[in-house]
């Protein structure tokens, strides 16, 4: 295995263009995945492109109309960042990714690039209309809905590197609820992220809601999002119907059956809306 450790994004891009390498940010996903595959006889030793020394990729920045999360920003960086209530759901997810030791090294971008159906950051990025800054042969800005293309698949090509995630700043509050087999250090059975804007009278102006771990890639709930505007927020949990989730395709696996996942997702959407209708109990 060859190991590259560039100090600049340009060098990293040149390496990515000329070699078949796997990028490495916090290494909390790549490493266990590789060790696991090797233990089961997979002989591939793909070369590694370590991004961790590229200073320009660090940090979370308020850029006026959006917040920019650099490719090396960790979950802990996110928890500690001073961000508006729209990011409350994202921060909740941050506190539930592994334990603190994993949060201190694991990155938000690494979580997205893994594109696991159970990635806790992903429904949040969908609900917040995040966009991915992709650097490479054709630099582009890709909306989250187009970035997550399927099971562990993204729009980031073999010669590309995600430089950052941009999240547009809007009014409203975000929230995240996750169901696992226990409280902490657990992979999600189902999870829901929501970003809701209400008017002075407490009526919903706009709703963006996404469900994870219930399909190959997490997805928004367009039918529910269309049904909610105009309704008082306190009525919202009662407006959630099974048909709003009918397009999801949960699977049976060791963590839960498909039927259980679907029932859990339905309950979690209601819970998320109910939580949002109570005065903000801000975490972080």
């Amino acid at each position: 295995m060859r190991y590259f450790q560039p100090a600049t994004l340009d060098e990293a891009l040149a390496i990515r263009r000329g070699n078949d390498v796997v990028p490495l940010a916090g290494a909390t996903d790549v490493y266990p995945a590789r060790a696991g595959r090797r233990a089961w006889g997979d002989p591939t030793h793909k070369d590694v492109l370590d991004l961790s020394r590229i200073e320009a990729l660090r940090g979370i920045e308020d850029r006026g109309d959006h917040v920019r999360i650099g490719a090396l920003a960790t979950w802990t960086d996110l928890i500690r960042a001073d961000l508006p209530p729209l990011f409350d759901g994202m921060k909740r997810a941050a506190r539930e990714v592994g334990g603190v030791q994993v949060q201190n090294r694991g990155t938000v971008v690494g979580n997205a690039c893994t594109a696991s159906p159970a990635g806790d950051g992903i429904p949040n990025l969908l609900a917040l209309d995040a966009a991915f800054e992709i650097e490479g042969p054709s630099p582009r800005l890709v909306p989250a809905e187009a970035f997550f293309t399927g099971y562990r698949a993204t729009a980031c090509g073999p010669h590309d590197i995600v430089a950052a995630i941009r999240i547009p700043k809007r009014e409203g509050r975000g929230h995240f609820v996750k169901l696992g087999a226990r409280r902490y250090l657990v992979i999600s059975i189902a999870m829901v992220a929501a970003a809701l804007e209400t008017d002075a009278a407490g009526r919903i102006v706009s709703a963006r809601i996404a469900v994870g771990a219930c399909s190959a890639a997490a997805g928004r709930l367009p039918l529910l999002e269309a049904a909610l505007p105009g309704a008082p927020l306190t009525d919202a949990p009662a407006l959630v119907e099974p048909r709003h989730l009918a397009h999801l395709t949960p699977i049976d696996d060791i963590r839960a059956s498909a039927g259980y996942r679907m029932a859990a997702a339905l309950a979690l959407v209601g819970d998320a809306l109910a939580d949002l209708s109570r005065p903000a109990a801000r975490v972080a």
């Binding site: 190991y3 603190v100 902490y184």
Partner: protein, 191 residues
């Protein structure tokens, strides 16, 4: 250009299989040749013979290998030695300064272990946690210690030990300073 900087410049564009790295552990610098795949945990245990840091799962799930790097607790099994060059690394061996560190003392007084295998990781994690200051309730302590598993089930006593270390004069902001001072003094003694 320093030798180390030259090394780095070369690594930048030239891939390598092995690296000559400088690891700063408990205040002392060590130069060693490592295969790129060597985890920081294996470098500490097998190369520097600092075996206080334990390997439980090797997959980031148990917390037995917790150490503190640049003021933040991390699992040393999920990071490569080569990714930690030049960073301040503190292991369980760096905590005591003649007397035990207050967290070590509290773990003994509260019988916060049975077999002891997870204990160095628990203690390093607790030192990190106290410094983070997220210890306002038992629940908050439990949440923030959730990365450390104890198969003997000493959790209740671990929470008590952490609260005791805080109550008995371990100012959260000083948890790390004490550890760092202990290291500086140790280094002085050896020099």
């Amino acid at each position: 250009m320093l030798e180390v900087d030259k090394d780095r410049a070369r690594h930048a564009v030239q891939p390598q299989h092995a690296f000559l790295v400088t690891l700063k552990v408990n205040g002392e610098e060590h130069r060693l040749n490592v295969d790129a795949r060597t985890t920081l945990l294996d470098a500490l245990r097998d190369r520097l013979h600092l075996t206080g840091t334990k390997k439980g799962c090797g997959l980031g799930q148990c917390g037995a290998c917790t150490i503190i790097v640049d003021g933040r607790r991390v699992v040393s099994c999920l990071t490569l030695a080569v990714m930690n060059q030049g960073k301040e690394i503190t292991t369980i061996e760096g905590l005591a300064n003649g007397a035990l560190h207050p967290v070590q003392q509290a773990f003994i007084e509260h019988d916060a272990f049975q077999c002891g295998y997870c204990t160095p990781g628990q203690i390093m994690s607790a030192v990190g946690l106290i410094q983070e200051g997220r210890t306002r309730s038992d629940d908050e302590i439990r949440e923030n210690m959730s990365g450390n598993l104890c198969r003997c089930g000493a959790y209740t006593n671990i929470v008590d030990a952490i609260k005791d270390a805080i109550a008995h004069g371990l100012d959260p902001r000083e948890a790390m300073t004490q550890a760092v001072e202990a290291i500086a003094q140790d280094a002085g003694r050896e020099a």
